[in-house]
């Protein structure tokens, strides 16, 4: 019996993926649940296991093709081993009446051939033809259209060598014509993930009124606490006591007092959430990803550290699942691991705020009238001013600072 390999649900708002890699080729024997093909989406890479054991009779979606949720990637002849594939199938429980075509998304329309005058102009002026509105037949670019664009660029005093970029995200912008320094440049296609990140970042900026407020925190109390209990912690819980658990706890404590920080805008409503799914930004080979620690308020320090550790490992191996990234209510980012002293993090929509941690650096601070070297960290809170007002943002950050500088507050909930 033939079993279809279908594209699984990819998570909310993700409707398609790209076939990144087939682990088996047509004709090979596969075992049930064995990873067959790797799909790449905007957020993660995921593996699709074989729904049954047998012979991979047909590979329908080729590497590089775009597929939709539910599309058929291939067909397994169940139970077969090295037998020629039967064309017909016994459609019983399996829905074979109208299988959705595998590559559903048509390739982006080929760019219209450019007329000779247009070719020359875009090359000489380093323009992106896709960014110039065409008024010719079927939307073609006319020489006049390009001349206008050149004039507009000159008027805007933009550097003529850089290709103009469109203000709104375009689905598939075609690359600019031959570039003057092409021989000394390397062209690498943006990965789907990077493109998607780029889009979402712009979306965030265009929607929310993002401001950033700063404060600084003296880390000596937390450092001392870790020094004292590091070994015992690791011995009991099997995981290292890092800084993140403190910040997660502190952020939750502060969020309890300033609920707007853990809210979002939905249409005309402000939605205040009574659960705390804290996203912790980690870096992966594919780029920045933010796995979410669900109900972090119900986890203890060890639980938080374990969750973070698991995610980091998955991220490194490219094995984060879509569910891992969904549903965050607040995000904590840490640029300090790369050495950043101060930054303005960008929001992770639809969240209202993001806390940025930075490098811990010994600085001379005034303590009781004396100058002392203290391990200091700058904290940044970027927030959506539509939801959170200035007082709330500042207060939130002050509360985080207080909890870190005196972790006993976390114990007593003060």
């Amino acid at each position: 019996m033939n079993v279809e390999i279908k594209v699984p649900a990819l998570g909310e708002s993700i409707v398609e993926a790209t076939v990144a890699q087939w682990f088996k080729s047509a004709g090979e024997t596969v075992a049930a649940d064995e990873p067959l093909v790797e799909l790449e989406t905007d957020k993660v890479t995921l593996e699709v296991p074989a729904p049954a054991g047998g012979r991979l009779a047909e590979v329908r979606a080729k590497t590089g093709e775009n597929v939709e949720v539910g599309a058929i990637l291939g067909v397994i002849e169940e139970g077969a081993v090295g037998k020629p594939a039967a064309a017909a199938s016994k459609a019983e429980a399996k829905t074979e009446s109208t299988p959705p075509p595998a590559p559903v998304e048509p390739p982006p329309p080929p760019a219209m051939p450019l007329s000779p005058a247009v070719r020359k102009l875009v090359a000489e002026h380093g323009l992106d033809p896709a960014a110039i509105p065409g008024t010719g037949k079927d939307g073609r670019l006319l020489k006049g259209d390009v001349l206008k664009a050149i004039e507009a660029k000159a008027a805007a005093a933009a550097p003529p060598s850089a290709p103009t970029s469109t203000p709104t995200p375009t689905p598939t912008p075609t690359p600019a014509g031959p570039r003057p320094e092409a021989a000394r440049e390397e062209r690498v296609r943006m990965t789907r993930l990077r493109k998607r990140i780029a889009e979402r970042l712009k979306e965030a900026q265009n929607t929310a009124a993002i401001l950033t407020t700063f404060n600084e925190v003296d880390m000596s109390a937390v450092i001392a606490l870790r020094k004292t209990y590091r070994d015992a912690f690791e011995k009991k819980h099997g995981v290292r006591l890092g800084f993140m658990s403190f910040f997660v706890k502190a952020a939750i404590a502060a969020a309890r007092e300033i609920p707007a920080v853990n809210a979002e805008i939905d249409g005309d409503d402000l939605v205040y959430k009574n659960y705390y799914h804290i996203g912790v930004a980690v870096s992966s080979p594919q780029g920045l990803v933010v796995p979410v620690i669900r109900d972090a308020d119900r986890l203890d320090f060890a639980g938080i550290e374990k969750a973070i550790g698991d995610y980091a490992a998955k991220a490194r191996e490219g094995k984060l699942a879509i569910e891992d990234l969904m549903g965050g209510t607040f995000t904590i980012s840490n640029g300090g691991i790369f050495g950043s002293l101060l930054s303005t993090p960008i929001l992770n929509p639809p969240q209202a705020a993001i806390l940025g941690m930075h490098k811990i650096q010994e600085r001379p601070m005034v303590v009781d009238g004396r100058i002392e070297a203290r391990p200091m960290m700058y904290l940044a809170l970027s927030y959506d001013h539509r939801i959170i007002d200035g007082r709330e943002a500042v207060t939130f950050l002050v509360r985080v600072k207080e909890c870190i500088e005196d972790p006993q507050r976390l114990v007593l909930d003060i």
Partner: protein, 469 residues
């Protein structure tokens, strides 16, 4: 018993009508075409484009053979004209083509109804059959494609023997000694050229101060000079006030256009070619309420619809240049519209050709038109004298002129006087259809050595950088 209900009935089997009928049939409609002439192809095939081009070609061969070969190292003697044979060939060409259309009708299952059509109701056409009797056709849609007829000159009666329209001029029994052509338009100049080549003395009488009013002024001037050099005499700014047949031929009374002293001019044959007017008589349009415009043409909107639902009109019977290809394009468009698709004619890119030698061809706007519209334009010109193929062939008369928008360089008009102008204009029309700039034409490779290179050089000349001049 033939079926009498059709999706579409086309009245008139000329270039507009037959093309419309065939296209509609291709799109799956049941179509009948009513034509009273006894042959398909309309004015164009029967008494217009085709016979005139056949005579133009053959008369050119005659003149070239008589006078044009010595310089090319070909000696000929005793070249004589067999007018009868020339006319016979012309008639054969016409017959083959009209029969060809009948074949196309059969192939596409268009019902050819031989008779005279009249509206019996809004969607009913009563055809008085040529073979007798009447047949009433029921139509979901009707396209009026009844074309045009020669415009009569007030006070001048034509007999198609001495005082003729183009129809008679295409079938004269012998070469007239002196032919007077009244009207310096496409038709008059073409037919005047035919008979001049065959040995007639030709005088063209024109009311306006210039020939071919729709032509770019510079071209018209050059064209006139070339025709004069060939031996045609022009009486511009002159009107014909009377014509009567005499024993010898015809006697004409001429006067300056503004009025003044009259003079007499004798001719053997007078060709009245002052224009054409739409043909709507006998259709019964008033009975069904189809409105005409101020010029007596069937009034239509931009989708070829008349004021009566289901009735459309195309071709010479509606406004626009009275050209066969314009009618054909409209026929295609209206068929597609009736079939539920989008149909469109681009009136800005309709070429016009005068099939004299050299030919004159134009597409788009002329300088006078651009000036009047206040459009800033650049000009690029290139003479065939400087074109290598023109030289090899000894066809050095004429030039190519390209007009382009001063700012965007978009080609606004192309005007050519030259031996193959009618063919060359197709490149220009294609370029303009795609909104090409003069630079685009200049940067497109043109084969060498061809006359078409003159088009490229003219395009280069727009930017002041022609290579070969």
């Amino acid at each position: 018993m033939a079926n009498d209900t059709f999706d579409l009935v086309v009245i008139g089997g000329g270039p507009g009508g037959y093309v419309c009928a065939i296209r509609a049939a291709q799109l799956g409609l049941s179509v009948a075409c009513v034509e009273k002439r006894g042959a398909l192809g309309g004015t164009c095939l029967n008494v217009g484009c085709i016979p005139s081009k056949a005579l133009l070609h053959d008369s050119e061969l005659y003149e070239t053979t008589r006078e044009g070969l010595a310089g090319h190292g070909v000696k000929v003697a005793d070249v004589t004209l067999d007018l009868g044979a020339m006319m016979k060939r012309k008639d054969k060409v016409v017959t083959m083509l009209t029969r060809g259309i009948e074949g196309l009708f059969r192939k596409n299952k268009v019902e050819y109804v031989k008779g005279t059509a009249r509206f019996a109701g809004k969607r009913e056409i009563a055809a008085a059959l040529t073979d007798g009797g009447e047949r009433v056709l029921s139509a979901a849609n009707v396209v009026i494609a009844t074309g045009s007829e020669s415009m009569p000159l007030r006070g001048v009666a034509t007999d198609e023997k001495t005082i003729v329209t183009s129809t008679g001029a295409l079938a004269l029994a012998k070469v007239p000694k002196h032919m007077v052509v009244v009207g310096a338009g496409f038709i008059g100049l073409e037919l005047g050229s035919v008979w001049r080549r065959l040995g007639a003395e030709v005088t063209v009488v024109e009311f306006l101060d210039r020939i071919v009013p729709s032509m770019d002024g510079e071209l018209a001037t050059q064209f006139q000079r070339l025709l004069e050099r060939q031996g045609i005499a022009f009486r511009l700014g002159t009107k014909l006030t009377g014509a009567k047949t005499t024993r010898a031929g015809a006697s004409l009374t001429l006067e300056p256009a503004a009025g003044g002293k009259a003079e007499t001019l004798k001719a053997d044959v007078v060709l009245v070619a002052i224009g054409r007017r739409p043909h709507t008589a006998g259709l019964g349009l008033e009975a069904v309420g189809v409105a005409l415009d101020e010029a007596g043409r069937v009034a239509i909107d931009s989708h070829f619809r008349t004021n009566v639902e289901g009735i459309h009109a195309i071709g010479d019977v509606v406004a626009g240049p009275m050209l066969a290809h314009k009618a054909e394009d409209e026929g295609l468009a209206v068929a597609e519209i009736i079939a539920g698709q989008a149909g469109h004619v681009n009136y800005d890119v309709i070429p016009g050709v005068v099939y004299t030698m050299p030919e004159v061809a134009m597409v788009g706007r002329g300088e006078d038109e651009l000036k009047a519209a206040g459009v800033a334009y650049a000009v690029g010109k290139f003479p065939f004298l400087a074109n290598s193929r023109g030289r090899t062939n000894g066809a050095t008369d004429g030039f190519v002129k390209i007009l382009a928008d001063a700012e965007t360089d978009r080609v606004l008009g192309v005007h050519i006087i030259g031996s193959d102008a009618g063919e060359m204009i197709a490149e220009a029309a294609m370029a303009m259809e795609f909104g090409a700039s003069a630079e685009d034409i200049a940067r497109t490779c043109h084969a060498h050595p061809t006359l078409s290179e003159a088009v490229r050089e003219a395009a280069l000349a727009v930017a002041g950088r022609a290579i070969h001049i």
